[in-house]
Symmetry: C2
Subunit: 305 residues, 2 copies
């Protein structure tokens, strides 16, 4: 039952999630920066708009999940995991740029800066998002091990598409959007959960993981995704815009249903802790190499931004 | 010099381009329709918006180029070519849906029907376009032969991205867009040419073509792409909206530079014929199996819609 003793494991062998995130983010940023020069014939304005959002920082949680999931499976193929980490960050960033558009959530602030369309205009923001998607699939096809490419692309594309992230956003902008807990969980599972789960699965696939390890990371990712979204709902209600780098209280203002609205703040915090515990439990089959993934899961629940 | 005798070849062994297009379109539509049911958990409204534009007809020129290029290379792998044909039609359709948006070309009419955002709203049109992209890459990764997937995806993604179609659209919506012939050719090469060339290259790749055959189809695609765009410019000036199924005269109304504006209608028609001849000449290394590709090239230049 070692997997249930996550607190003592973490305190006896402390891994600082912030250090973990920044170490992986540095790897990623270096790779992304080299990526941008691969398109010398592209219009300069387009590449600037892409870089503005892509290199704006952010927690880089998804790439960290890819890279640490690959390591937890004993993956030696750093190139495939790094390409997958960059691809998923490109897809995530494209979704933020499009979600912020006036026709969607109409947000002015993201990662502490004006949103992409506020700086470059709506047309360029749409096209920058479109281009981030094609770049994501291009680098995965070009830089990952060829034998892994079909599974990696199918995984990323499915998680991003109609039954995943984009489908979730469609539900989220529907005026007749969910009003009960089951519907809200379904929305979160698609809009945010699919890509977080895919991050873990991509890491496992890049490492050539066994079916058992892939299943373990799939479960970890699903529980982590749920915890992430509950905490997002809590922070939208309790944090300041300065802390989050984006507008807060927007869910309520838009009449969007959230965990705290449905079950209250205290019960939401308990649900987040339960989801965290389930995520940690799911790592059991992976054995000893799971401290970084544990630290990331704890970070997701305890974060203030 | 058989390749220079295209007129006599076509008249002695007539292949009706319309029949060729409709036969390939039927294969494609059947595949696309089966594709739509692969996403049972997707929001129904999203799939309707995708189907509205994807199954709206159109010439299906790009899929025909993929399938006939594969056949011209003696390709037996129909599954890979069909997946590539569908993927490129998805990417093409996504680009039409996004280009028609109010923030871009602000078009009300496409393929004889109201544009996607006119029917489903701006947000859904953006998301439907986004989803068509992820579906394109997913089906290519899932349905093509695994060994071909990396090259097929890299080809499609690059042609769609910053140095291809999306980069071309960025230039096209730039108020300081090109005003001379060299710049106009560059714009066309990116915005329209990249995907038409990729159609031919994808067919060759799906057929496991030799480097010589790939190069021949690359050249054919580039010349065909140029001819296509010159004719598009001519039709925008000379055809009626009813013939084209979309608004005409829009280039001039928006101050966009076109071939007829720069060199006149007669010279534009001559340039289109020269590009056609170059496309036909490029097919020489492929030998005897090129009648369908010849017929498609002639169709591109002689079409009235």
């Amino acid at each position: 039952m070692k997997n249930r003793k996550h607190n003592s494991v973490i305190s006896s062998r402390p891994i600082d999630a912030a250090t973990l995130l920044s170490r992986n983010a540095a790897l990623l940023t270096d790779y992304l920066a080299r990526l941008m020069v691969r398109y010398p014939e592209a219009p300069a304005g387009l590449m600037q708009a892409i870089e503005y959002s892509l290199l704006a920082g952010g927690k880089r949680l998804r790439p960290a999940l890819v890279l640490e999931s690959a390591k937890a499976c004993g993956g030696e193929d750093g190139a495939s995991a790094l390409a997958a980490a960059a691809a998923i960050e490109l897809i995530h960033t494209f979704s933020l740029v499009h979600d912020d558009l006036p026709a969607m959530d109409d947000d002015d602030l993201r990662r502490g800066r004006p949103t992409n369309h506020k700086v470059y205009g709506e047309a360029m923001a749409i096209l920058a998002g479109d281009a981030m998607t094609t770049i994501a699939f291009e680098i995965l096809a070009s830089d990952a091990s060829p034998a892994l490419v079909p599974a990696l692309i199918a995984e990323l594309a499915h998680a991003s598409g109609p039954e995943g992230m984009i489908g979730g956003q469609v539900i989220d902008i529907d005026p007749k959007r969910p009003a009960n807990l089951a519907d809200l969980q379904n929305l979160h599972r698609m809009k945010t959960g699919a890509l977080l789960t895919a991050s873990c699965r991509l890491g496992a696939l890049a490492a050539g993981a066994s079916a058992d390890h892939l299943a373990a990371l799939d479960a970890y990712g699903r529980h982590l995704g749920l915890a992430f979204q509950i905490v997002d709902d809590i922070l939208d209600q309790t944090a300041t815009a300065e802390q989050l780098g984006k507008a807060t209280g927007k869910d309520a203002a838009k009449g969007k249903v959230t965990y705290p609205m449905l079950i209250g703040l205290d019960a939401s915090r308990r649900e987040a802790q339960l989801a965290l515990q389930s995520a940690l439990d799911a790592l059991a089959p992976l054995g000893e190499q799971t401290e970084p993934l544990r630290a990331l899961a704890v970070f997701v629940v305890e974060r203030k931004m």
